[in-house]
Symmetry: C2
């Protein structure tokens, strides 16, 4: 029998987890828990059940790991501590500034329940964090750079959609190639927000809307756009649906540092992701950490962990012997 | 007091470790052990001693970690098991095919001595291995590619220098840009040895030597050059010393994979290193793992470990709290 998995929340991320589980034969999806009417939610896995979220805790003992696929704004701050008392859990909490308090609350709950919780799993936080940490440990004298994109920012797309006269919109975050090249050249440049990323918006305006006013409102929006060079394209709903229906993302983490008795030698560490589907890639990372959570809990671990606290081998279905022989 | 470090073997790697320690204020170099006459070895760190390798074991109790900086061909297969019984040790054993047997012998010795040994630390094996492993765990359906260079291969340079009529030589391994682009394009290409790398040799011929014969002997040398497109340049000793005196290296690890219910979405994970000094970067990785070895041993661990077995946080001088607040 494989590791028995439950999914709580069946949006893009939940569906991504379902797909990722299918690629990992040592794991098995047992149930999807939803706030919607279970009869109206249709999932891809024929052998798994769809249940109301109110039934989830009754599955204690029948699930090895519960994967929490809610949002970071309001779902996970409540759900992860709540369910960590009953299950080993993994979440993708991504509000960087609030991670310390989330960690503390989840840690208390997981310890109370004797479970292993892994928070903030995905690519940023997640794989990008890992790469920042490894690179900093290796090159203590150096400088970090993180670039995001080219990819769809959900938060920025939502901000544009809230503007009066906007029917629909998609926003892309794009790293500035010349800034990237300056980092790669090893000059450790100081880069402003504007120098690192541009923003590109594809907007469907309502009939008769004042496009110039919309464009101006976007470009001057504080926090979201004012500090960036932003391009706005007005297109039809058909064009938006046809050309901007997917959710690509990605980015780069770089560390440029020096070694030698007088810092005379330079080094560049670069990690990059190009993702056709942001939620599916995030889900794939989460599933690997679900395996780790289960194994750690089998060894008697409890409490909250992050990607920093988990030895890489726990993520792989292969044995230590196989890993040493094939990948070291 | 910092973590007390000894270095065994003071060549390029040993000197690199000495330099890396200077960048890590929680660690302190106490002694360098050499097979040469200690009186004739001058080191950079004024506060450390230079001792004969025959004295090393007497330092048990005065060193927290002994870093083994010998070669993989003949030194480390003997030294790592020998010293793992007396000290926590880290080595950079890089003969991939012989890692399983090295692991077994070092593991026995380290367990006998109650010490922690970390083997095969550096960038390949090391950081490249980690990236292969993480990427495989995240994208089970996909394909791995490792490219090396542009960089100096010591083994290939030595092979050229052994040819009659060759006074001195340097060999560079170079990834083929079009092969890299094909991988990045996501086509999961099958690539032959010849399609992935080219080799470039800078050769100083002895006076009166038959350059055409040397070039032919290089290009047809089995295992080393016959399977590659190789370019040979004859230059003077002055040019070699002036233009080819450093030891740069680097390379890339890529995994191209797919997710989705029918594998409909593609992803590319890419990790790359551009290193001015191969031994200094390797040394910097080793020093981070020396910190990990010491901490693991303080927690009561013993036996042999690799980069797969060590949680990333052990490498950093920062606390878990600091790491979560600053890097997650």
């Amino acid at each position: 029998m494989g590791i028995r998995i439950g999914i709580l929340g069946y949006g893009n991320l939940g569906r991504g987890v379902e797909c990722a589980l299918r690629q990992n034969p040592d794991m098995e999806l047992k149930a999807v828990f939803t706030r919607r009417n279970p009869g109206e939610v249709s999932i891809l896995t024929k052998t798994a059940k769809v249940c109301s979220v109110s039934e989830a805790k009754a599955w204690r003992g029948d699930l090895d790991v519960l994967i929490l696929c809610g949002g970071s704004a309001t779902d996970l701050p409540v759900q992860t501590p709540e369910y960590a008392e009953f299950f080993n859990v993994v979440d993708s909490f991504d509000t960087h500034a609030r991670i310390p308090e989330h960690f503390a609350r989840v840690n208390d709950a997981a310890q109370r329940g004797g479970n292993t919780a892994v928070i903030s799993v995905g690519w940023d936080p997640g794989m990008f964090s890992l790469n920042r940490m490894y690179a900093n440990a290796i090159l203590p004298e150096g400088r970090d750079y993180t670039f995001w994109g080219r990819g769809v920012s959900q938060g920025h797309s939502d901000a544009v959609r809230r503007i009066a006269g906007v029917k629909d919109a998609k926003q892309y975050t794009i790293p500035v190639e010349s800034a990237l090249e300056a980092v790669r050249a090893g000059g450790n440049p100081e880069l402003t927000v504007r120098q690192k990323h541009t923003r590109e918006c594809f907007v469907v305006a309502e009939e008769g809307a004042d496009k110039a006013a919309i464009e101006n409102e976007i470009k001057t929006m504080p926090n979201y756009f004012a500090d960036y060079d932003t391009t706005v394209h007005f297109i039809s709903q058909e064009e938006l649906d046809r050309d901007h229906g997917s959710i690509p993302h990605g980015g780069l983490v770089l560390r440029s540092g020096s070694t030698g008795w007088e810092g005379e030698n330079r080094h560049l560490i670069e990690y990059s992701l190009k993702l056709d589907s942001n939620p599916e890639f995030t889900a794939s990372v989460i599933v690997a950490y679900a395996r780790a959570a289960w194994r750690l809990s089998q060894e008697g671990a409890s409490g909250c962990k992050t990607v920093f606290d988990i030895a890489p081998a726990y993520l792989s279905a292969r044995s230590g012997e196989e890993l040493r022989a094939s990948m070291l």
